[in-house]
């Protein structure tokens, strides 16, 4: 009897407590990456100051310098597209405890496939050809990642090692193709033939380079968030990532989930590669990516493996990247320093993630 009464009295305070707890946890979740970025920027400013630059000015330029007009915002979004795609895809892999370091290679393979489809198949309408190019990129990226996935589930080969090695293979394969079999015979530089017009990713505004890839990236990131958090397949994938033993006991197919997770991340990277070719350069080059595949890892990390948050962190890293280009033009700050700042962001994200877990336990 006593217990029942006590229970009733506590209903409201308990609900309030639960609400407060959820709120504080959410605040902690959101605050830590922001704090991590601020700390990293402060460190960066100090570093610049030590090197004889006006640190705070430079950092200000880095963040806001690229927001000059619509066009420069468009350029940021253009850079954000592959980062969001790759970052959101890696969130899925990381949630399943698959450490796919091979997004760069998967991007390259996606770009090759997109080029093959985009330079051939003449006579298709843009409504068919452009999506076909994207699909080719995604399928190729998934297949490339699938190699590492298969080696893992079949032979327990560490995907960290295999995906890194597959990066080299993909990048060197691209070099070989654009200097050999796929080289545009009329061009002096190593590059492929131009993609057919119908294969180009449509632009959002005709006089800007920004293409609809950014919309696709945001939609897919939202879709992956829903997949992970709300679908039963996503649930199984998270369980496999958190405790593969319990997953096996519960009757989940661990190998299949591992394959699904790594192939999703590969498809997203491959799609990013397709957009680089079909949306930006319209030809395949040797260095089609300035390291988007690696930066995507940092994007996922800063997003705490949440695809929804990867939209924001992808945007942030794109802003820093654009800002560094502005800096190069307007001041003497070497781009290496910008890379150092990006490195500090990643380190402080890791440090703050640890801090957040500690805070969560206390809260």
């Amino acid at each position: 009897m006593e217990q029942v009464n006590q229970g009733r009295e506590n209903v409201y305070p308990q609900a309030a407590q639960a609400f407060y707890r959820t709120l504080s946890q959410a605040a902690i979740s959101a605050a830590t990456p922001i704090a991590a970025v601020l700390v990293a920027l402060a460190f960066g400013a100090a570093l610049l100051w030590v090197n004889g630059f006006n640190g705070s000015d430079v950092v200000t330029v880095m963040i806001f310098g690229s927001f000059q007009d619509m066009r420069s915002v468009g350029e940021i979004l253009l850079k954000a597209t592959p980062l969001i795609l790759i970052g959101a895809g890696l969130c899925v892999a990381f949630r399943c405890s698959i450490w796919n370091i091979g997004a760069e290679g998967q991007l390259y393979v996606g770009a090759i496939a997109a080029t093959l489809v985009g330079t051939n198949l003449e006579g298709l309408s843009v409504w068919v050809h452009a999506p076909l190019v994207m699909l080719a990129g995604a399928v190729a990226g998934a297949a490339w990642a699938g190699i590492a996935g298969y080696l893992k589930v079949r032979f327990q080969a560490s995907e960290i090692v295999t995906t890194i090695m597959l990066n080299y293979i993909a990048i060197i394969l691209t070099s070989y193709l654009v200097t050999g079999p796929m080289k545009d015979a009329s061009a002096a530089y190593p590059q492929s033939a131009r993609l057919l017009r119908e294969a180009w990713t449509p632009r959002i505004v005709s006089d800007m380079r920004l293409h609809i890839g950014i919309l696709v990236a945001v939609v897919l990131a939202v879709a992956l968030y829903i997949f992970l958090q709300k679908s039963s397949r996503g649930f199984a994938l998270r369980v496999v990532g958190l405790n593969p033993h319990a997953a096996r006991y519960a009757g989940m197919n661990v190998k299949r989930n591992v394959m699904i997770a790594i192939c999703i991340s590969g498809a997203m990277a491959g799609l990013a590669g397709a957009f680089e070719v079909a949306g930006v350069t319209h030809r395949l080059y040797q260095n089609i990516s300035p390291g988007y595949g690696f930066e995507g890892i940092a994007v996922a990390l800063l997003a705490n493996n949440n695809p929804l948050a990867a939209i924001i962190s992808g945007g942030l890293f794109a802003t820093l990247r654009s800002g560094s280009e502005v800096l190069q033009i307007t001041s003497q700050v070497p781009q290496v320093l910008v890379l150092v700042i990006q490195g500090i962001v990643i380190l402080s994200v890791v440090a703050f993630a640890k801090l957040r877990d500690t805070l969560r336990i206390v809260a």
Binding site: S231, S232, R233, F235, A236, N243, A246, A247, V362
Partner: protein, 513 residues
């Protein structure tokens, strides 16, 4: 008052995150006594002793040893002060010999290797003096658990100790080996050593100790002289109320055969033969127990029944259908429930919520999911229902299961498995690591399931658990069923002999069915 105590612990506190493991404990140990530290699992006994031997550093408080305040930063510093501890999980390198294990980390390797003969001689001498049967050249991996424990004790003696701490030493031993260990403790004290003996088993503690300190929830309840107390009084102190060791139960009414295992053989994950032709039947409405010292094939039996270990030969038949070699999902679907041995590894996913943990097997079934998407409301309602029915102490269905006590985690596992309406329930270590309240609750729940006509196979190393709820007990040794006994506490000796692999003295009763 007695002279200055040998070891005094003053107001020790230790927190791990939000868990208070030691909440201001003060305790005195006299020289030359056997002092038992008694308490349920999770009462804070091991943590307290780990602080004395330098494994864990206290947040607050003082340790006074031989009249001096000490603070050890590592076990090595404690050993230097002649304090040794034998942990529950042995700290031995399996592919080295006994002697090699003893000299690990003992200064210059070259010097030690030159003295290897002396090391061997000293081990033999100590082994003989305390009748430990330890051969210095034996490889650890070739030794049984009981032998390894003696190796650990001898290691402490080898390094020279005045205080020996034993953490749950009898958990892995047969009754005969336990007797031998208790006798050894007496010998050590005769030689002027002091022994602290951590246990949650009342009878052992009563048999050998001079004084007993009872711990509960990270606090010291009381220190008593063994002469001034009895098992009942100790039990009351341990749980804060009377423990009913006997659960009320009616006679079993076994019906049709639900599960039949025929001549099952399989190898362990390391490839060694683990089951050598096990045959048994479990009928509806009965609880069949499997007793045995751990490591005699029990783990492999439950893995094989769940479809997680390939079967070399033999059959498993459930409700007349052959389920040998099916995968876990198919076996789950044929109304087999499973309460695993290692809860944290196999039973639950610690970082997930209670709700998510209740749907681990049914995440893709109606009403918890429709067309591939999870349905939050039915999951929450189902979990709330289980929390209410099994009185699981928790805040909310969205709470992480890692925040619950072991007993409440186990209740959730039991609740989840029973909610699937199984015909056959496989239980491996029903009450491991949970408090007496939860223990009683889950045991009563098993009896209810039995009376509702379920077939239950209970694998356990806790004889008390088997006596309390089983209808018959099979003894497993070296991957075989050695015999069957009724759950009669008067036949404990027979059971102990069977557990040690001796069948000669036991009159085999005719097998049922």
């Amino acid at each position: 008052m007695s002279p200055k105590p040998f070891l005094r612990i003053e107001n020790i506190r230790k927190r791990f995150g939000s868990v208070v493991a030691s909440d201001g404990v003060s305790l005195e140990i006299d020289e030359g006594e056997i002092h038992a530290l008694l308490g349920e699992n999770g009462a804070g006994k091991s943590v307290l002793m780990s602080m004395i031997c330098g494994m864990v550093r206290p947040d607050e408080g003082e340790i006074v040893y031989k009249g001096q305040s000490v603070r050890f930063n590592s076990p090595r510093e404690a050993i230097r002060q002649r304090i040794g501890m034998v942990h529950q999980h042995f700290m031995l390198v399996p592919n080295l010999t006994v002697a090699e294990n003893y000299i690990l980390g003992q200064g210059s390797a070259l010097r030690v290797i030159n003295d290897m003969d002396k090391v061997h001689a000293r081990i033999r001498e100590l082994s003989e003096r305390y009748a430990l049967d330890v051969r210095p050249e034996a490889r650890i991996e070739d030794l049984s658990v009981g032998e390894q424990q003696r190796v650990e004790i001898l290691k402490a003696l080898f390094h020279g100790i005045d205080l020996l701490i034993l953490d749950e030493p009898t958990a892995v031993l047969t009754p005969q080996e336990t007797d031998r260990l208790l006798a050894l403790m007496g010998d050590l004290v005769k030689d002027g050593k002091t022994v602290v003996f951590i246990s949650h088993k009342l009878d052992e503690v009563m048999r050998v100790s001079n004084r007993i300190s009872v711990m509960r929830d990270g606090r010291l309840v009381k220190t008593v002289n063994v002469a001034d107390t009895d098992a009942r009084g100790l039990a009351r102190m341990m749980v804060g109320r009377d423990v009913r060791m006997e659960l009320p139960r009616g006679p079993a009414a076994p019906g049709r055969i639900v599960l039949s295992i025929e001549n099952l053989a399989c190898r362990s994950e390391t490839g060694l033969p683990a089951l050598r032709g096990v045959s048994l039947d479990v009928r509806s409405g009965e609880i069949v127990g499997i007793a045995g010292v751990s490591g005699n094939g029990q783990t492999e039996l439950s893995l094989a029944l769940c479809g997680l270990l390939p079967v070399d030969s033999g059959r498993v038949v459930l409700n007349g259908q052959d389920i040998t070699g099916l995968d876990p999902a198919r076996i789950n679907a044929r109304s087999v429930a499973h309460i695993p041995e290692d809860r944290h590894k196999h039973g639950i996913v610690l970082p997930l919520s209670l709700g998510e943990n209740t749907i681990l097997q049914r995440y893709n079934e109606s009403p918890f999911a429709t067309s591939g998407m999870l349905n939050r409301r039915p999951i929450r309602e189902h979990t709330r229902d289980l929390i209410r029915r099994f009185r699981i102490k928790s805040r909310d269905v969205d709470q992480k299961i890692s925040e619950l006590s072991g007993g409440n985690q186990q209740k959730l596992v039991v609740a989840r498995e029973l909610a699937r309406n199984p015909d056959f329930i496989l239980v491996n270590q029903l009450t491991r690591g949970i408090d007496i309240g939860a223990m009683e609750f889950v045991m009563e729940e098993m009896l209810k399931q039995r009376d509702n006509g379920r077939a239950i196979l209970l694998i356990s190393t806790e004889l008390e658990e088997l006596f309390a709820i089983c209808d018959r007990i099979l003894v497993m040794f070296h991957g075989e069923i050695l015999g069957e006994l009724p759950p009669d506490r008067n036949r404990l000796d027979e059971l102990g002999l069977l557990m040690a692999g001796q069948t000669a003295n036991v009159v085999q009763p005719p097998l049922a069915g």
